[in-house]
C-alpha cells in the first residue's frame, strides 16, 4: 500500500472507529442520542459528553503519541524491535506510580499522573546521565533496556513486599482509559505541541538512516538529531503513560505495522504511524468496553493480546 492510498484509508478507519466508540458500549446509543447527548440537560448527556467523547479523544491522542514515540525511537536506534520501552521511560513512570500507591496509600490519587510523569522523566534523565550526549545508538539501547529491567524489578519488589496494594497497582500498570475524562485530556494536550517538531525532524531522520558518517558529510549532526528525537519521544511517552498507564506494545506494533504499509520515509511514516496508533487504541478500548459489558477490561490487556503475538511473529521472521 502506498502512502497515497494509506492516508484516506486510515482516516476513514479513524472516523469509523470513533463513531463506533460513541455508538457502542455497555449501553448502545443511536446517532440521534449522540447528537442530543452533546447538549446539556439531555438524557444521554453524561454518557456521550462526559464519558465517551473525552475518552475517544484520549484514545486518539494517547494512541498517536505512543506510536509517534515508537517511530522516533525506532528511527534513532535503527532497530524495528525498539520502542519507547527500550528507554525505560514507561517503567520509570510505573515505578514512581507504584511507589506512590504503596507507600502513600492514604494519599489522594489526584497526584498520580504528576508522580508518574516525573518518574518517567527522571528515568530518562538517568539514562542520559549514564550514556552522555555522544553515545552510540546501541549503547543507548542496551543501557536503556538494562535500566528498564532494573525499574521493573523494583516494581516487582515493591509489589511483593506490599501485596495488599497489588490490585490498584496492577490495574494501573496494565494501562486503561477507564475513568479518564476532560481533566486528563487537558493535562495531555499541551504536550502535543511537540508533534510538529517531531514531524520537522523527518528529513534528518531519513539521513540518519544512511549511517552517522553519511549524515555528517551531508551536514546533519547525528547527535543533535538523536537527542532531539529522543527528548520528544521521552516527553510524549511520559505524558501519555502518566495519564493512562503504560499501554503495552502500542509503541512497538503501530510504527512497525505502518513501516510495512507506507515504507520507511519519515515524512509519511511519522504522520501515518500516529493514525495507526490512534486506530489501534480506539479499537482496543472499544473491545475493552463491549466484550463483556458491564465489565470494563483495561485497554492495555487488549493491546497486549494483539501485540504479544505480533512481536513473536516478528522475532521468528527476523531469523
Amino acid at each position: 500500500m502506498t502512502a497515497q492510498r494509506f492516508f484516506p484509508f486510515a482516516l476513514i478507519m479513524l472516523f469509523a472507529l470513533s463513531l463506533a466508540n460513541l455508538l457502542f458500549g455497555a449501553v448502545s446509543l443511536s446517532l440521534h442520542d449522540i447528537w442530543q447527548g452533546l447538549f446539556v440537560g439531555s438524557e444521554q448527556h453524561f454518557t456521550v459528553y462526559e464519558y465517551r467523547l473525552p475518552r475517544l479523544f484520549l484514545a486518539i491522542l494517547v494512541g498517536a503519541g505512543l506510536a509517534l514515540s515508537g517511530a522516533l525511537v525506532q528511527g534513532v536506534i535503527r532497530n524495528p524491535l525498539a520502542s519507547p520501552d527500550v528507554l525505560g521511560v514507561s517503567h520509570g513512570a510505573g515505578l514512581a506510580a507504584v511507589f506512590y500507591m504503596t507507600y502513600f496509600n492514604g494519599a489522594s490519587t489526584e497526584w498520580l499522573p504528576e508522580v508518574a510523569l516525573s518518574g518517567g522523566l527522571c528515568a530518562a534523565l538517568i539514562l542520559w546521565y549514564l550514556c552522555g550526549a555522544h553515545s552510540s545508538a546501541i549503547k543507548l539501547a542496551i543501557t536503556g533496556v538494562a535500566l528498564a529491567a532494573f525499574w521493573a524489578s523494583c516494581i516487582d519488589f515493591l509489589m511483593l513486599t506490599k501485596p495488599l496494594e497489588i490490585n490498584n497497582a496492577l490495574l494501573w500498570l496494565t494501562g486503561s482509559l477507564w475513568g479518564r475524562s476532560w481533566p486528563q485530556l487537558q493535562a495531555l494536550l499541551p504536550w502535543f505541541v511537540l508533534v510538529p517538531f517531531a514531524l520537522g525532524l523527518s528529513k534528518y531522520l531519513n539521513v540518519l538512516d544512511l549511517g552517522d558518517d553519511s549524515a555528517n558529510s551531508l551536514g546533519v549532526s547525528p547527535q543533535s538529531v538523536r537527542l532531539l528525537s529522543l527528548a520528544i519521544a521521552v516527553a510524549l511517552t511520559a505524558a501519555c503513560v502518566s495519564v493512562c498507564g503504560p499501554i503495552g506494545f502500542l509503541g512497538l506494533v503501530a510504527p512497525h505495522l505502518t513501516r510495512k504499509l507506507v515504507g520507511g520515509r519519515h515524512q509519511s511514516l511519522l504522520p501515518a504511524t500516529m493514525l495507526t496508533g490512534a486506530c489501534l487504541l480506539l479499537a482496543a478500548d472499544l473491545a475493552a468496553r463491549t466484550l463483556a459489558p458491564p465489565i470494563e477490561l483495561p485497554a492495555g490487556i487488549l493491546t497486549a493480546i494483539i501485540g504479544a503475538p505480533y512481536f513473536l511473529w516478528l522475532l521468528l521472521r527476523m531469523k
Binding site: 458500549g25 455497555a26 449501553v27 453524561f46 454518557t47 462526559e50 464519558y51 465517551r52 496509600n105 489522594s108 490519587t109 489526584e110 498520580l112 501485596p163 495488599l164 490490585n167 490498584n168 490495574l171 486503561s176 477507564w178 475513568g179 475524562s181 481533566p183 468496553r289 463483556a292 459489558p293 458491564p294 465489565i295 470494563e296 483495561p298
Partner: protein, 298 residues
Amino acid sequence: MLLSVIKRLTTTLCTLMFMSSAYAVTVQDSKGTFTLDHTPQRIVVLEFSFADALASVGVAPIGIADDKDKSRVLPAVQQVIGDWQSVGTRSQPSLEVIASLKPDLIIADISRHESVYDDLQKIAPTLILPSRRETYSDNLKAASIIAKVVGKEQEMTDRLVQHQQFMAHIAQQLPDHAILQFGVARADALFLHTDDSYTGGVIQALGMQTPVSDRDDSAYRQTSLEQLVALNPEYLIVGHYANPSIVDNWSNEPLWTVLTAVQNDHVYRVDPNIWSRCRGILAAEHIANDLLQIFSEQ
C-alpha cells in the same frame, strides 16, 4: 444599595438554612461534608459492604458493582433486596451503566473509586466511604452513616443493638479466648487476616483471639508454611479461592502435621467470599453462625 445587598443575602441565607433544616441530611464522608436534600429511591452501590448496610435496614439498591457475578452478593442480602442490575466490576465499574440507571444516590469506596469521584458526582450525589481494608468497627460506622443518608437512622440504631445482642449470644456458645486464625488461600499464596482485618475484628467481637505475632502490623499478611507453624493457632479456618489452593498442597507436606490445629483436627473450610469479600452486619452474623456450627460439630 449596600444595605439592600446585605438584606438580600440575609434572606437567601435564612431560606437556605430553613431549607436544609427542613429536608436535608448532612453527614461526614471521606471527602468532607455530604448533604442530601431528598430521600434516595434509586441507589447504586459500588461495594458489597454498602449493599449489606442497605439490606440491614430493608433498603434495596437498584445497581451493585458485583463483578458481574450475582452469587458474590451475600444470600441474606439477596433475600432482602431482590433483583438488581450489575454495574460491572468493583475496581472499574461501568460509569455509563450507572448513568443509565438514573440513580439519585451513589455509594462509592474511597479506596477504589476516588479517581472517578468527580465523574460519579456528575451522575448523582455520591457518598464516598471506606470499604476495602476497613475494620469491623469502621464497617459499623459506615453502615450508620449510610442509614442516616437513606433516612433509616432509627432503624439502624435498633438493628445495631440487635446485632450486638446476636453477637454476644453467639459468643456465649463459643469457647472463650480460643486462638483462631482465618486466612484466604489462593493457588500460590496464603493471606492471614490479623486483628486489624475485618474478619479479625468479627472474631474478636465473638470473644476469641487471633494469634499474636510481632512481625508486622498489616491487616492481611502473606504467610509461608513455616511462618504458619510459628504462629501455630489452635483453630485454622481457611477460605479457598482456588482449587487446589496452596493450603491443599501444604497438607501433603510433613511440616503440615506439626500444626496443633492439624493434630487436633481443627482445620476448617469456609466460603472465602462471605468471610472476606462481603463485609457487613449480615455478613458478620453469617460468620458467627458458621463458627457456631464449626464448634458445635466438635
